[in-house]
Symmetry: C3
Subunit: 160 residues, 3 copies
């Protein structure tokens, strides 16, 4: 795994990644909360127009792309929270909820979409712990939701 | 969002909320563990006699009420852990497991039942990160289980 | 609950437990990440050749054994992370994803398999918060995956 040189913002440019605006929470909660060195980010999926289940409407390869898209949403929230992504000290934990058929078995390959993104963007600091399960249904019939925890340096004050 | 004045216990009274006794864990675990500034509370649902799935036996509106009831159970455990609810510094994270039909899409509206409760009780400190998924089944066929993390000041010693 | 005397390694021997080698992550992530006093361990299941759902191919009693096996995998990762298991200060949180039929209701009894193991091995330090849900499917059709957090003393440096 390579060590990312220079700023993470430069790394994003080198990767050709343009972050979206942080999406609004789907209901009455915040995009993130900072507590005790850890940033807890709310569940994020790919764009709301993507609807369907893995193993039914979507293939594992589709799911990989959706997980990557969800990861870009997470990065947008991260930037909203910490200002510069260089304030991210470690990707700590990713949980994936995959909206999947009962016979689906490739959840881990789907979640690689966000794992690879984090490794590309953060290098060594992008290595993380992970778990994934197959949901029976998700809000708005999203194909995947990711729930993430980061170790960060908060620039000024807490999340609010 | 209003700032809660006075004690949280007064706020509970103003809201007409009487907390239940903290329920016993359903099996061989503790209601909560305190570690490094964070209180990890075990999964809690509404009363054990409530059984069924969202999108089948229950509507989204039913689910909202069940999520609120689960939130009251969480508050009871919080009080058991920290003595006075004023020792709660921040609601950090809520994960919701909604026992739902495979076609259900309103998990976020269900989870608002506990989110609104936390905002009503704690004001700004009640803002939290959140995620929710649709379970295929839950213990005792409960309609919802919530898994929560709080930043707290522990009054005397650790959780045991 | 008894207080474990002597080293945890002696306790393992007294229990007749021989830990497996830590299994490799199923995809592009690490077995664990240490951050701010907490060790986040990636999702672990029983051996990869065990495939099927609770309430279909497997009974609750089978599930209890699978949860215990998953717990042994977690202990192996713990040892990999902290060297001596005496560096574990507290089992903090266990989340269980049980691959279960939609009519299954005994997830908590299944998860006791890992809870009992943690209590046997760590005594008071093994008491933990817990939650469990029924997944519609899991990677490789594993019957259970556990996602765990521990409070630990890291012997030398961080997880990488």
């Amino acid at each position: 795994m390579f060590k990312v040189e220079g700023t993470i913002e430069n790394q994003l440019m080198a990767l050709g990644i343009i972050l979206p605006q942080a999406s609004e929470p789907a209901a009455r909660y915040a995009n993130y909360i900072y507590s005790n060195g850890l940033l807890f980010i709310s569940g994020k999926g790919p764009s709301a127009s993507t609807k369907g289940k893995l193993g039914q409407q979507f293939s594992t390869e589709d799911g990989y792309q959706f997980a990557r898209q969800a990861g870009l949403e997470v990065l947008a929230v991260l930037k909203q929270a910490v200002g510069r992504l260089d304030n991210v000290l470690q990707v700590v934990k990713i949980q994936g909820f995959v909206n999947a058929d009962r016979a689906f078995e490739e959840h881990h390959k789907v979640l690689n979409g966000i794992s690879d993104l984090m490794l590309d963007v953060f290098g060594e600091k992008g290595v993380h712990a992970r778990s994934v399960m197959g949901a029976n249904s998700l809000r708005d019939n999203l194909p995947i939701i990711v729930d993430t925890i980061f170790e960060v340096r908060m620039p000024v004050n807490d999340s609010l």
